[in-house]
């Protein structure tokens, strides 16, 4: 009987009451484990580049300015908040925060740059303890990502070639 089923459907609706959340006026609190924007702690980071080598989206760039200074730059353009960087970091320098409202007109708002003093470390990459064989740091040694053009350089090399990297993403900064 169709009338009966219509009544049943009406009951379902009435029982449910109002469930719409008042978002964005107030946001529902996110659970403890929520993976939001990763936050990098320069005080803890030892510059091992483990996060950079294991980021599936290639969002973390590393460049050595000189023997002592290493720059670690998180771009935040296409980060998928997967949390792999936080997983592999041996110093727990990365926290997956609870921030999710990260939409912005200026991508530079999300970018994080760590200027790391490397002391006398020879940057062998060995301080990065890979969780499994598959996470082996493929880029041990000097790192020269193309920070200017925000591009990951796929092989570890001592200098950058002069040719411009293909710009896969033109975003106003």
């Amino acid at each position: 009987m169709s009338v009966l089923s219509k009544l049943k459907e009406a009951v379902i609706c009435l029982r449910a009451g109002r469930v719409t959340l008042p978002y964005p006026a107030t946001a529902r609190p996110v659970p403890e484990k929520f993976r939001g924007r990763p936050i990098f702690d320069a005080a803890k980071c030892i510059g091992c580049a483990g996060c950079a080598s294991n980021c599936p989206s290639r969002e973390i760039l590393v460049v050595d300015l000189c023997q002592e200074i290493r720059i670690l730059q998180y771009l935040g353009r296409r980060c998928t908040y997967c949390g792999r960087c936080a997983d592999v970091c041996p110093e727990k320098a990365i926290t997956m925060s609870h921030e999710f409202e990260t939409a912005t007109n200026c991508i530079g708002d999300i970018r994080q740059r760590l200027d790391l003093f490397m002391s006398t470390c020879q940057r062998c990459g060995r301080c990065f303890k890979e969780p499994s064989h598959l996470e082996q740091l493929k880029q041990k040694g000097y790192r020269f990502d193309d920070v200017q053009n925000e591009r990951w350089v796929l092989r570890s090399q001592a200098y950058l070639t002069s040719e411009a990297a293909v710009d896969d993403m033109k975003i106003e900064i």
């Binding site: 219509k6 459907e9 929520f34 290639r58 998928t80 908040y81 949390g83 064989h133 598959l134 293909v166």
Partner: protein
């Protein structure tokens, strides 16, 4: 040993044409055959041995063997066996006999192979470009190994026109999509209509290219790919994540720890729950019954929240790495998940009780979008579409993976072959999913979440894995490679097969039923190049080119 039995059957019939075979266990069979006998062997497997066609894979194997490789995958569902028939093709001018006239479902896969790898299916009757954009230069095949991942081909012709087929005589053309209120993603159907009746259609899809397979083969590494794989689909992402991990694991004979297998099962079923509830809502929305659309999405929301609690995200769980899972199910979450399931079950029971007697919904869906057993067999339809036609197939039972061999559940089948049967199948499957999760929570043993991987993964191993996604079987084919990444990774999502049946499903149906017929396969498409405007006063049709559109939007006015 069913795999050996099947191999012997093939050997008996084809003798020397079978060059070599790999039997890694009783559930997988890889047969390397003479290219000239490939078609006959596939025909025998598909017709005489009654296997189900899964997909075809083309591969540029020149860096390893100096040749091209083509593989046709079949599934012997009753024998719990997945079988690949492979043939090496010469490096210059790779050609292979098309199997699409004996296995109609292979048509798209062969066209894709031709576009992306440049293997010519000889004898294919409809060799229109399928995957590559219209302006892409001829003879340039992106999945070949000598093409870099970031290659921008010279000679891209943005102005190149797509030629549509001629509509049959007496038919009008009604364009449907690429943007249509009931399509969530871009796809274009050119419907041929006679009055109100649809007589046929031409499909044009593949409008979004992300190059995930190419990236995986050239840039990403084994443990990066799962996070990318789950972005293949916006609803059943976890399925691809798990299928990929399993394909690699079977290739290198690695097994995830039992606890990880249970967690994979639970997350896959959580995904099925939210996907089916979403679909029932959408189907109601398409037929204009928004009340139930709202209610079914309301009932779905707690599932999303519990997924968020377990994995940190309501949709992209980022669950698997090779050899295990990343997230544990803690005792608190376990208790909460039980509560969520209890509530969901009670509420869903009420919905099912109401809907199953609702005449309005039935009138819109009974006898609509018919896909019968013949179509299921020919095109290789899967999932709820096949089960609604009485095909008793379900990868969870037929090709058990994760912890499905340790739980008890029913495969729901219906016999109406129409949209209504698909509604019923999905509604009932919700209860089965709840049952499975409950059993997993009960049986889950303590233990590690990942196996330690001590050595590099061996090179050149083949692995296939099928996972029953909410929409049907998702199938991944992996060949392991050097540099910590696969040599070839091919993904076949369920919609790939199911979509090929849409032209047959909507034939001789009312135009108004098109949307629900299409919606009933729960399609998952992935933008367009131009639009058409008609000046109503003068009736002049003008087709806007991409450049005109761009300059218009840049000026900020239309």
């Amino acid at each position: 040993m069913i795999a050996r039995e099947r191999l012997n059957q093939l050997k008996e019939k084809f003798g020397p044409a079978i060059q070599r075979a790999d039997l890694p266990g009783d559930s997988r069979l890889f047969v390397f055959v003479e290219p000239s006998a490939l078609k006959a062997i596939c025909q025998h497997i598909f017709r005489d041995l009654d296997a189900r066609y899964v997909t075809s894979i083309g591969l540029d194997d020149r860096p390893c063997s100096g040749k091209f490789l083509v593989a046709h995958d079949f599934a012997f569902d009753r024998d719990h066996l997945l079988c690949s028939v492979l043939a090496y093709l010469p490096a210059d001018n790779p050609k292979v006999d098309s199997i699409s006239d004996v296995v109609p479902g292979a048509s798209w896969a062969e066209r894709e192979m031709r576009d992306l790898v440049g293997i010519e299916p000889v004898g294919h009757r409809y060799l229109k470009r399928l995957v590559l954009p219209d302006g892409w230069p001829d003879g340039m095949h992106p999945l070949r190994k000598d093409v870099p991942w970031n290659h921008v081909p010279a000679g891209y012709d943005e102005e190149r026109e797509f030629t549509f087929d001629e509509p049959p005589e007496g038919c009008m053309v009604v364009p449907f999509g690429p943007f249509h209120p009931t399509l969530d993603e871009p796809a274009h159907f050119r419907l041929y209509v006679e009055g109100e009746m649809v007589r046929g259609c031409e499909y044009r899809g593949f409008m979004v290219h992300r190059g995930i397979e190419k990236l995986a083969e050239s840039v990403l590494t084994y443990n990066d790919i799962p996070m990318m794989a789950e972005r293949i689909c916006g609803i059943c992402g976890c399925v691809h994540n798990v299928t990929y991990a399993q394909a690699v694991e079977t290739a290198v004979a690695l097994r995830a720890p039992p606890r990880a297998e249970y967690i994979r099962t639970i997350m896959l079923e959580i995904e099925r729950l939210h996907s089916h509830l979403l679909w029932v809502g959408l189907a109601c929305h398409i037929v204009g019954f928004d009340t139930l659309f709202m209610q079914s999405w309301r009932i779905r929301e707690p599932i999303m929240w519990i997924a968020e609690k377990i994995s940190g995200n309501r949709k992209t769980y980022a669950l698997c790495v090779i050899g295990g899972v990343r997230w544990d199910i803690t005792p608190e979450v376990r208790a909460e998940l039980r509560q969520v399931l209890d509530k969901l079950e009670a509420e869903w029971r009420a919905v099912v009780a109401a809907v199953s007697k609702d005449k309005n919904i039935q009138k819109r869906t009974r006898g609509v979008g018919v896909a019968d057993m013949t179509l299921v067999k020919n095109i290789g339809l899967i999932g709820p579409v096949a089960r609604a036609a009485g095909a008793d197939i379900d990868c969870r039972r037929d090709h058990p993976y994760a912890a499905y061999d340790r739980v008890d559940f029913d495969v729901i089948t219906e016999f109406g072959c129409d949209v209504w049967s698909r509604v019923v199948v999905r509604m009932k499957e919700v209860f089965e999913a709840i049952r499975i999760i409950r059993q997993c929570l009960e049986k889950m043993e303590d233990g590690p979440l990942q196996v330690p991987i001590k050595d590099e993964l061996p090179v050149g191993r083949i692995g296939v894995s099928s996972v029953e996604a909410p929409r049907g079987e998702s199938h991944h084919f992996v060949i392991t490679g050097e540099n910590n990444r696969p040599h070839r990774w091919r993904v076949r999502a369920p919609t790939y097969q199911n979509l090929q049946a849409v032209p047959m499903m909507i034939k001789d149906q009312q135009l108004a039923d098109m949307t629900i017929s299409l919606g009933s396969i729960d399609p998952c498409f992935s933008c367009t190049d131009r639009m058409e405007t008609i000046d109503l006063k003068s009736g002049v049709t003008k087709v806007w080119s991409q450049q005109e559109l761009e300059s218009m939007t840049r000026r900020g006015k239309a």
